[in-house]
C-alpha cells in the first residue's frame, strides 16, 4: 500500500548536492544528470528524512493525489 505522503523536489532550489540520496532508506531519490534530485514517487514512503537533510530546503512532503 502506498504511503499517504511522498517527497517532492523544487527544482528551482535544488543544488543537486546529493545529501538526500544518502539518507533515503528506500533508495527512492536520485540526482538526475547533476541538475536536480528527483523522487521515484512509488518507492517513496514519505518518511521525510530527505526533507530534513536537504540544506537548500528544496524537498517537501506532499499528499498523494494532491500533487500527482
Amino acid at each position: 500500500m502506498l504511503s499517504k505522503k511522498f517527497a517532492q523536489v523544487d527544482r528551482d532550489f535544488c543544488v543537486a548536492c546529493g545529501s538526500c540520496v544518502k539518507v533515503c532508506p528506500r533508495e527512492a531519490i536520485f540526482v538526475w544528470r547533476g541538475v536536480t534530485a528527483a523522487v521515484e514517487a512509488l518507492r517513496c514512503v514519505g518518511c521525510g528524512k530527505c526533507a530534513r537533510e536537504c540544506p537548500a530546503g528544496a524537498i517537501t512532503l506532499e499528499e498523494r493525489g494532491a500533487a500527482q
Binding site: A16, P25, V31, G34, A41, R52, E53, P55, A58, Q68
Partner: protein
C-alpha cells in the same frame, strides 16, 4: 541498515589533513588545486555532479561535524541564502577574489611586490603565517600562490563551519562556488533534456 562502507566515504579526512599540512608547510596548499580541477573535469567529461554527490571531502566533513557530532542546530537555511542571486553572486565574488589572488601572485613573480608571509581570512583579516614558510628552491610566486590559495580554502572552510553550526550540516553546499559551477555545467550539458517521469517508478541512469 548495516552495509559496508565504500572507500570514498572516508574522504572527509582529507579536509583536516589538508588544513594541518598547510599550517606546517604552506606549499602543501597547492594540493588544493585537486579540489578545484577534479569537480570541473568530472562535470565536463561526464555531465554529472559525482564529485559533490560522492567524493567531496568538505561535504562529508560537514556532515560528520553537523550530523554525527551534532554540532549543527539543524535549522532551515534562510531564504536569501538559498536564493539564486546569492548563489550566483557568491560565485562571481569568489571568482573575482580568485583572479585578484592570481594578480598578486603575478606581481610577486614580476618582482613588483614582496612575498607576503601571511594568510588573509574572509578576504579582510591578515593573519601571520610565517612559520609555515621555510624558504623554497622554487620562485617566490610559488609560495605567494600557496598563501593566497590556502587563505581561500581556510576562509571557505570557516564559512562552511559557521553555516553548518547555524543551519543545516551541508548549508555550505547551497552556495558552494564549485557546486554552483558544476551544476551550471551539468545544466548546459543536459540542454533541453526532460527529467524522466518519476511518478511511475522508472528512473534514468542515476547521477
Amino acid at each position: 541498515m548495516n552495509r559496508s562502507k565504500h572507500w570514498y566515504e572516508y574522504l572527509w579526512i582529507v579536509t583536516p589533513v589538508y588544513l594541518l599540512l598547510g599550517f606546517f608547510n604552506i606549499l602543501f596548499a597547492w594540493l588544493g588545486m585537486i579540489f578545484f580541477c577534479v569537480p570541473l573535469i568530472i562535470a565536463i567529461a561526464t555531465g554529472n555532479k559525482t564529485y559533490c554527490n560522492r567524493y567531496c571531502d568538505r561535504g562529508q566533513f560537514l556532515t560528520l561535524l553537523g550530523g554525527r557530532l551534532r554540532l549543527s542546530r539543524n535549522r532551515p537555511t534562510p531564504n536569501w541564502m538559498r536564493s539564486r542571486w546569492f548563489r550566483y553572486g557568491f560565485l562571481v565574488f569568489f571568482l573575482v577574489m580568485f583572479l585578484q589572488m592570481l594578480w598578486v601572485t603575478y606581481l610577486v613573480g614580476a618582482g613588483a611586490q614582496s612575498l607576503g608571509q601571511s594568510v588573509k581570512l574572509f578576504w579582510t583579516f591578515r593573519v601571520p603565517w610565517h612559520w609555515a614558510y621555510h624558504g623554497t628552491l622554487l620562485a617566490p610566486w610559488v609560495a605567494q600562490f600557496a598563501f593566497g590559495f590556502y587563505s581561500m580554502m581556510l576562509t571557505s572552510n570557516l564559512i562552511g563551519w559557521i553555516v553548518m553550526a547555524l543551519y543545516k550540516p551541508r548549508t555550505w553546499c547551497v552556495f558552494c562556488p564549485m557546486g554552483t559551477m558544476t551544476q551550471l555545467i551539468c545544466k548546459a550539458k543536459a540542454g533541453g533534456a526532460q527529467l524522466p517521469c518519476t511518478a511511475c517508478g522508472e528512473k534514468e541512469a542515476q547521477t
